[in-house]
């Protein structure tokens, strides 16, 4: 029944909101932006709940919306940053997520798609198949991007260690 899918979606959102926030924060690295992204993702998901066909797809479906919102927030911000002082960029790095870690720094240098795939794989512990459903890349592309990204990370870190 349609309404139980709706109730299921609400349940899913309530149970996983902290995960959503972490994903959003890892993308935006800014508390307010991450909250905005989660809130608009929840809003859009609930508005479009009728497009969910089965309960199993809720997770990948929601993450797709969420990541889309994160990218939208980032896009909006890059427009802002272009016109603002370069120094202001610094303010987007919040405490508790310092740039100190070299791996983290390297990760953030990667292409945003690749970053996303690595985060979903290792932080959200998703299967490659789920990542493929979320990002819209086919499975092989996800694999290629993931392994290329990891290789790049390894190389860059070793270089830094030298």
């Amino acid at each position: 029944m349609k309404s139980t899918l709706y109730e299921g979606l609400i349940q899913y959102i309530l149970e996983n909101q902290e995960r959503f926030y972490r994903v959003a924060y890892s993308y935006t690295r800014h508390q307010e932006d991450a909250l905005d992204a989660v809130q608009s993702a929840v809003c859009k998901a609930l508005e479009a709940h009728e497009s969910i066909k089965n309960a199993d797809a809720v997770k990948t479906w929601f993450y797709k919306i969420l990541i889309n919102e994160c990218l939208t927030v980032l896009k909006k911000r890059s427009r802002l940053v272009l016109t603002a002082d370069a120094a202001e960029q610094e303010t987007y790095c919040e405490k508790g997520y310092e740039q100190g870690d070299d791996l983290e720094q390297e990760l953030n240098k990667l292409d945003i798609d690749v970053q996303g795939i690595i985060k979903l794989r290792f932080f959200e512990e998703m299967s490659l198949k789920e990542i493929s459903a979320i990002t819209g890349f086919n499975l092989n592309t996800v694999k290629t991007k993931l392994y290329r990204g990891l290789k790049l990370l390894k190389e860059n870190i070793q270089e830094a260690d030298l």
């Binding site: 909101q17 926030y21 809130q39 791996l103 983290e104």
Partner: protein, 294 residues
């Protein structure tokens, strides 16, 4: 890669701002509200279908109702309590129960219309069935909402003890407005004591001669909207002069009635239009009523 593990640890440690739950909850409440409006509209349509199918289903429903009434001990007790107030029909409590689970109290009193004179040739089974379905549906969804609230409350660090102190109570009850020779008018209400967002009230006005629900148009004629609007506007300005506050049109105040506007019929057989709390005036004013003298 242990560095990745370290990073994962850090990722899992990203502090969650308190605001998150609030903002997520806000979206959910807003969506549920819209959803409910949609459901209500669907329900109205379904109700129309029920009425049109009434002839077909009447026989089946009749058996069901008779069986239920006769096997319900509550019915017997409740029926004994109620005096018969003349007329052709009366309102009875069809089913009344109170349950408690997870410190959520549900108190339900479902009314039913009983035609006293059996040979009037009218049938109210369709209406009774709708009342029953509506009450059950409301109670079920309210319990679900309360359970969700409980889950969220406990998951965000609330204790069972604190939860119990919330004294969550869901009530479905009815109030008779008029039980006379011409009309039967009553309201069925559903309330949740922890939120106003889902409170529901549904007015039933039954013309006893036809066995049909009465509309404002039936009461006031085809010019009913104009007539009622004029009277309400006049009463609002009178009350404003007396110091009462109403929302302006821009604030979402009174803009005119529609065929869905709620009303009941008072002892003088005049329609009384009812606006819910917050609908056209601040919450402190509660429900607001306007008697429309035809």
């Amino acid at each position: 890669m242990s560095k990745l593990d370290k990073m994962k640890e850090k990722y899992d440690g990203i502090p969650i701002p308190e605001e998150l739950t609030i903002r997520v909850q806000q979206e959910i409440l807003r969506s549920q509200r819209q959803q409910e409006e949609k459901d209500n509209a669907a329900h109205r349509n379904r109700f129309r279908r029920i009425i049109s199918n009434m002839a077909v289903t009447a026989a089946a429903v009749c058996i069901l109702f008779t069986a239920a009434l006769n096997t319900s001990p509550v019915f017997a007790v409740e029926a004994a309590k109620l005096p018969v107030i003349g007329g052709l029909a009366r309102i009875l409590t069809f089913r009344s129960y109170e349950t408690e689970k997870d410190d959520i109290v549900v108190a339900v009193e479902i009314p039913t219309i009983e035609m006293i004179e059996k040979d009037t040739g009218t049938s109210v089974d369709g209406i009774n069935q709708e009342i029953l379905a509506r009450c059950n549906e409301y109670a079920d969804s309210a319990v679900l909402r309360a359970e969700e609230y409980r889950t969220a409350f406990l998951e965000t660090g609330g204790t069972l003890e604190e939860w119990a102190k919330h004294n969550i109570k869901i009530t479905v009850s009815y109030e008779i407005k008029q039980q006379g020779n011409d009309y039967l008018s009553f309201v069925v209400r559903g309330t949740e004591n922890w939120t106003n967002a889902y409170n529901q009230s549904k007015y039933y006005n039954l013309d006893l001669r036809t066995g049909k629900l009465v509309t404002l148009e039936d009461m006031l004629g085809s010019d009913y909207a104009k007539l009622a609007d004029r009277s309400i506007r006049q009463q609002i300005s009178e009350r404003q002069n007396a110091g009462e506050t109403f929302f302006t049109a821009e604030q979402g105040g009174f803009t005119g009635i529609s065929e869905d506007t709620k009303f009941y019929i008072n002892q003088n057989n005049d329609p009384v239009i009812v606006f819910e709390k917050y609908e056209i005036a601040p919450g402190s004013s509660g429900e607001i009523e306007f008697v429309i003298e035809g």
